[in-house]
Amino acid sequence: MLLVLALAPLLTGYVRKLKAHLLRRQGPPLAQPYRDLLRLLRKEVVLAHSASWVFRVAPYLVFATTWVAAALVPTFATGLIFSYAADMIAIVALLGSARFMLALAGLDVGTSFGGIGSSREMMIASLAEPAMLMVVFTLSLLAGSTQLSSIAASLQGPDVGLRVSLALALIGLIMVAIAENARIPVDNPATHLELTMVHEAMILEYSGRHLALIEAASYLKLLLYVSVIACVFFPWGLAVAGQGLAAYLAGLAVYVAKLAASGFLLAIFETAIAKMRVFRVPDFLGAALMLGLLATLLLFVTRAG
């Protein structure tokens, strides 16, 4: 659990640094997200008069649910202690709980920006969540399980091979991950005061330690999605429980390498593409949903053939 917490800001910092380099800027140092968090944590909270307890409790719950969800994803080794507590559907639903609280907090102060953010976030989620679940369906039909560890183990096996539906599911999952993490074609993580912002509008009223928690939760979420993609579609190098320290260390090294590679790809993708209008997002996510459904259905066709 502590590992994901320690690594998550690093990944975000790394993506920011790479993006800056691609734009021929110097970019903030890698440790900047850590410094941001620490600075925010030390500051006092400025609370609107109309804020209720929902507004103050939400950051802690959002952070806690995201952290627990991230800790349930196998990072560098399968066979986590608590992996039986939640399968992939439950992880998706946990993230849903976090989003529910955050959207409520956006509405709590009663400003128009918070409302915009919540409304759009829920619209995006209402398409991204089914798309994600269709990807889960494909994977679990293939692996005969909804447990992430079992899926990873079974996709590592020799009898799976390359499949069209896996490729479709991968594309679908990446699209969902981009939308859920408020990355560029859907939302811009680096802007304020733009009418198209979604996530940032929702948390506009937050300050101090509350903001730090929400930022940490979004770092964790990015790490979670990258870990899921890495663990399911690129399960090589995952250490299996009880293989000894060397295997764990090797698994950790491979995991960091995977994170670096995906961060690199994300940065290139974000630099190369333009932000789309809010009402184009449903088309984008509808495509992800269709890909997920197609992946599920193709599974039957290929199995029959």
Partner: protein
Amino acid sequence: MALGGLLWCIAALLAASVAAIAVARHRAATTFVYAFALGVTTVALVIAAASLLAPDALSGALTLPLGLPWLGARFRLDALAAFFLVVVNLGSATASLYGLGYGRHEEAPARVLPFFPAFISGMNLVVLAADAFTFLFAWEFMSLSSWALVMAHHRRSGNAAAGFLYLLMASLGTLALLLAFGLLAGPSGGYAFDAIRAMPPSAGVAGVVLALALVGCGSKAGLVPLHVWLPLAHPAAPSHVSALMSGVMTKVAVYGFVRIVFDLLGAPNWWWGAVVPLLGGVTAAMGVLYALMQHDLKRLLAYHTVENIGIIFIGLGLALAFQAAGMRGAAALALTAALFHVFNHSVFKSLLFFGAGAVLTATGERDMEHLGGLIHRMPLTALAFLVGSAAISALPPFNGFVSEWLTFQAILISPALPQWVLKFLIPAIGALLALSAALAAACFVKAFGVTFLGRPRTPVARDAAETSSWSLGAMFLLAGLCLVAGILPGYFIDALAPVAQALAGAHLPRQHELDWLTIVPIAQSRSSYNGLLLFSLVALAAGLAADVIHRWASDAVRRSEPWDCGFPDATPVTQYTAGSFTQPIRRVFGTVVFRAREEVHVPRPGDSSAARLHVQLRDVPWDLLYAPAAGLVDFVADHLNKVQFLTIRAYLTLVFGALVVLLMVLVVWQ
């Protein structure tokens, strides 16, 4: 004996409703009736729960010399009936408790008090009935007493029309059920359920009975497209009755469907497993989209009932498909998921209607656009409503998630089915289910956010006061159940085992003996969920974060004006409203499903009138199905009207002609 005790409870409720007619005008009558109903339903709840948990004490049967003289009234208590009695009496007991506080604000108690216990006794009777005549009689009794409650405030605009539509649809449903039982009983006329069970109908007849049962029970439960009356009639009743109708009466309709299709109809055909989940999936998605478009809090909740009925029918349909393929374990899983959702929905829907009732008493408003900021004035109601919202949105660690998770697990077994149609269809239904779960979350962010959060939009919302402690007690009881059933689902699933065993011929593995109270429907390597562990981990992480931050970092708070990106807005009117919140979703789905059209009227430069946004939504099932049917009835009535004004010779000719035709039919028939 358990069954005798339950029948005495029903008799006591009927007596109370007769007594209430006499004393309704008395001031203490409200307290008396609700306290009495609370006591009796609690006794019935305990008896039903005891007979569900101790299966050897079950299977009581009794014939009373009532009703048709050669048949008597048969009653039977088995596992299925016991489970639904738990649902009915839990809902009724909490509604009575809530009524102790809420009923004091009733302006016409004489129109509510006599029918409230009668309605409860009607629902209990339906579940206990063991022959077709008693079942239909109790069904009609339940419909009519609830109709009377819908019409309690008949002078308010719209209520009379809602009552009329309800009466019409209830008659249609009863007609369908009457025909279904007629077909089931066959030419020999064995109306007792035992006789029907002894000789199951042929496959063709069974298909027709399934269709009739779908119409009969589906119209009561609110399956699309037979749902039109529900969102009008449920909110028209007083709030605790709305909770009973939405949370409990729809479940009695589900009971009717399960009883007819799983118990009486014999072995299912595979295509039943395609039709029923498809209807369920469409109902779920349509229900939640309708709900999203509503700004009336109670009507929104009523549309959500439609959605949840859809989810329940998905589970029931999957169970039929698995049963037809002989996969008993999978059928038991799907059936358990559906029945667990029956229980869960009755709990959180009652809770939400109670919350809406509390808002209604405090402000007199059902329209969300006139509310806002109620969390400051009604903190406890807000907390309970928040729990209900999270539970109905299928968010862990609450109970709604567990039953939807079980349904997903059942969907994931579907590729093992032999029929290709089902293999392709059921994953698509899974997508509909996922979509409706995600949209439900959006809808309840709207319902809770616009009603309770933000700044008050009207003076009544600003000056609201917390509701009475009786009502709060009922709400927190249900909120606690939502949490307990969410983090300890194993006990509830085990309690459902005898029902699944009786109907599907198998039950899920015992859950509560597993380590750490994890639930494992099939096998550990396949899927497992542990609500308790998840809840404790989240609580631990949140507590840890709060403790560390408050100890080592900062815990200073300063109050100020909202920041709002530097555009502070003076009036609460500039907040996001329910309409604007759903605008993106309306644009994504509404254009197809509701043929939504938006027109913006912007005044010309120099014109000082307000700009207007006009949104038009159309109810497609109404346009395609109900409007033509109503037109046809009008047309026929207009033309038959002429027959009233004929001469005596013409009438005599008509009579003679009718006689000849009937005789000819008889000759041909023989």
